[in-house]
């Protein structure tokens, strides 16, 4: 019988990582994710792991770099300003092609901003964030159960592609409590890969490096990386599409805002407005193709994993819906990817709250009503 336990989001991050076979955590305190390092400080020694509080986020991500290079499952967790400090290290990790998991429980910005939930680090997470041409795989859970699911996916994905995976949460997800079903079997970390720095006994020395001093060599390295990102973009897209096949308005939202939008969708449907919800689970690679199909009226509904789509067929000849992207961001960040995907085929609108303010379902419903009124007029 699977165990069902009540947990707090940040603790779920910690336990999910342990269940996923992670035994090394390096971090630095920052609100609103402090329960993650606190949980790890308590739990990791119980399972023979290592927790270390670094002197800064800069040091923490470089400890992650060292441990990842040494061949083990390792992670860090922080929130927006701390993630900003880690960007150089993340760039090195991508350049040296090391696997690790980085959790960002996003808070309001810019600057010191606020300690309340936000989604204003979307650009930073999905467009590179640090210097150079690189990508992170970005996973956006919207429930505590999904934190477990995606953490279980994050480490194997990171190892398969030798690339960091970011779990992009927010203060809501970190602070909320929900029941979760723990995995039946905790995952076992694989043995250190052959490229890891374990000491060169019986083999030639391994070097973990991101320096290619000759321009041609650096370009060749970049081309290899781009080929890898192309493969990830082909194979690893994940999203959820609900009620999109008959919708006049499709809400696009991720993470905790997708839950708000889910409620808004139900309120709208209760008053006869056909509203759907499109929830990207991978923010990078972004599910552009699926959105484009919905815009063209050929999209399918349901949950799509890495292998393709599932659910009901498209709407046939009727026109695609209008889109309303809802984010905890002042100007909208993901909405730019939505617009790129829809490519002018259908209107794409935006509604955002920022600075730590969480939109309510009724606020979103108001936006849907206004949109509909504007279309009717």
């Amino acid at each position: 019988m699977p165990e069902r336990v009540l947990m707090k989001g940040n603790e779920a991050v910690g336990e999910a990582a342990i269940q996923a076979g992670c035994r090394y955590f390096f971090g630095y305190p920052i609100t609103p994710q402090n329960e993650v390092p606190e949980y790890m400080a308590r739990r990791l020694p119980e399972v023979g792991g290592v927790y270390l509080q670094a002197e800064s986020e800069v040091a923490a991500i470089n400890m992650v770099y060292g441990a990842a290079g040494a061949g083990v499952r390792v992670m860090t967790s922080s929130s927006s300003p701390g993630i900003s400090l880690m960007q150089e290290g993340i760039s090195y990790i991508c350049g040296a092609e090391l696997p690790c998991v980085i959790v960002n429980m996003v808070r309001g910005g810019p600057g010191l901003g606020s300690i309340q939930p936000a989604q204003s680090d979307y650009f930073q997470a999905t467009k590179g964030g640090g210097h150079g041409d690189y990508r992170l795989i970005v996973l956006a859970p919207s429930s505590l159960q999904e934190i477990f699911d995606l953490m279980g996916l994050a480490f194997p994905l990171a190892e398969k592609y030798r690339n960091p995976v970011m779990i992009l949460g927010d203060g809501v997800l970190g602070q909320m409590m929900e029941p979760v079903v723990l995995p039946d079997e905790p995952a076992q970390a694989p043995p250190p890969p052959p490229w890891a720095t374990t000491g060169c006994q019986g083999r030639r020395p391994n070097v973990i490096n991101s320096l290619y001093i000759e321009a041609d060599a650096c370009e060749a390295h970049n081309r290899r990386l781009q080929a890898k990102y192309d493969e990830i973009a082909r194979k690893e897209v994940r999203y959820e599409a609900l009620n999109t096949s008959d919708a006049e308005v499709v809400l696009v939202a991720y993470g905790s805002v997708a839950r708000v939008c889910h409620s808004a969708m139900e309120l709208a449907r209760a008053e006869g407005i056909k509203v759907g919800l499109f929830r990207p689970i991978t923010l990078w690679p972004f599910p552009s193709q699926a959105l484009a199909q919905i815009a063209a009226g050929t999209g399918e509904t349901g949950v799509a994993g890495a292998s393709g789509t599932a659910g009901a067929p498209g709407r046939g000849d009727s026109p695609g819906p209008a889109f309303l992207t809802v984010e905890m961001s002042a100007g909208g960040q993901m909405v730019e990817d939505v617009r790129l995907a829809v490519n002018g085929l259908r209107p794409v609108h935006f509604y955002g709250r920022s600075g730590g303010v969480v939109p309510t379902p009724h606020e979103v419903l108001e936006q849907i009503r206004a949109l509909r009124k504007a279309v009717a007029a």
């Binding site: 090394y24 290592v50 400890m63 060292g66 441990a67 374990t198």
Partner: protein
Amino acid sequence: MRQIFGRPASLTDVPMHYCPGCTHGIIHRLVAEVMDELGIREKTIGIASVGCSVFAYEYFNCDMQQASHGRAPAVATGIKRVWPDRVVFTYQGDGDLASIGAGEIVHAAARGENITVIFVNNAVYGMTGGQMAPTTLLGQKTTTTPLGREARRNGMPVRVVELLSQLDGPAYLARVSVHNPKMVNTAKRAIRAAFQAQLDGRGFSLVEVLSTCPTNWGLTPVEALKWLEDNMIPYYPLGEVRTPSSASRQAGVPAAASTATAPTPAAFGATGTAPATRGKEGE
């Protein structure tokens, strides 16, 4: 006749990129000789930093990771926490360790992280073309102190060994030089003691090695050795400041008691250097 001196197995046969007469090459060899003699090459992981020694990963014949500027002690910490039975060392210059990486070195030392740090101090940023370093001497001309370093404008040079000696974490702290064959031997003994401290699980060890930069000092390699001796050693006195036997943490002496004794560098026994004298400050 038999061979009594040659390239240690812990150095690769790759020609080094350093400028003619740069003493990095000597220090690389000393580290490699110690790795050979302690028989630890196959269980050592080295960290190359950013600066002239960035290519150290090409020269040390052991597993290596290259670190971002100043972060080598953090990278070493990550590795050492994964593989506590391996030997982990960093090789860092003065800009890397004492400027941008000041936070990481202080906290690795404070934790008593069981790693060895080889800190090469040549009082200048070499790789970027001769700018002022945290260890540039007062009056020393660099491309960013064209009239010479001046205390009020540029601040005072940093004595890393003395700075770290205020902490209880380090097990071994020494400053050595490589400006003549005798000093090279002394330097090797210090490097060996540092690695031995790690092997014995004593905690953090650091050897600061005074080194030359003929190119950016504007001197011939031989003149540079003399300049080091005449100018650097008076400000950066040589000697062991902390040894495992003197380390308070080993003896269980409370922190307050250990810091009460002044950390004056002790000369290296019979084969050591001239007693340390501090340079004039605040000029």
